[in-house]
Subunit: 151 residues, 2 copies
């Protein structure tokens, strides 16, 4: 439960790949798909969406491909996931603007909104760069938070 779609996974992996290859001017969707064994056309769509929201810059034609539009350190996992999977709602009732259709009202929605924010916060604190170098400050801070919350 509570898991990312494969598309979001693919997107994060692709961005990580791009962050690891800053030398290459641009990398094609096929290149990335091949190295990870991802269906190329599916990854292409994911990258197209990430381009649309401005996280990537695309370059059509021969030797074309994608590149990060910002440095990896300034792209959060949240942005990627949000772009691909849509808005983050932990409760199944909150569908966009419309309120819960359950009778009196979804009495649980409001208190869980905080949880939602907490999770979004965690995701926002993780950058693509953190995926490359797992031993980074943000990673450690996330760990710290866990222990902090357990206390």
């Amino acid at each position: 439960m509570l898991r990312l779609t494969k598309k979001a996974d693919y997107g994060l992996m692709a961005l990580k790949y791009l962050a690891e290859h800053p030398d290459s001017v641009s990398v094609s969707a096929k290149d990335i798909a091949d190295t990870y064994g991802i269906p190329p056309q599916l990854l292409a769509k994911v990258l197209q969406r990430l381009t649309k929201v401005g996280l990537l810059r695309s370059h059509a034609g021969m030797n074309g491909g994608y590149e990060l539009s910002r440095e990896a350190r300034r792209i959060s996992a949240f942005e990627v996931i949000h772009a691909i999977d849509g808005p983050l709602f932990i409760t199944s009732c909150t569908k966009g603007s419309k309120s819960c259709d359950l009778e009196p009202n979804c009495t649980i929605k409001e208190p869980l909104a905080r949880v939602n924010e907490s999770i979004a916060g965690v995701l926002k604190s993780i950058s693509i760069y953190d995926l490359v170098d797992a031993e980074t400050a943000a990673g450690r801070s996330a760990e710290m938070l866990v222990t902090l919350m357990h206390s």
Copy 2:
């Protein structure tokens, strides 16, 4: 994306209801389903599962129903969600014990494990009681964490 199933929602709502009615010896699935407009048989299954994992005590027969097996303060949202939706994995690749089937290896899985733990931590810090009284310490601590992470 990243949302609970309706079953988990129903489960949380039901537990909250039970926490709000400690006077009643036991409440039937139908009672709760009626007050919230939830399909009764579906809620019944959810409650059966929660009983199975020991969060509820059931009582068959006339005037039967369910009651919390512990005080609301000592039942976490995590336990409920875990019981209903299964283990919490943010990456779609981590299916149980088996590692990712993506080619070299899902390079993203390991760094996201921390995120997973952070989210689990947030969920563990929220009790059923917190859902009843949204202005509780744990709720505030969760809020605090969000601001802390944004800094």
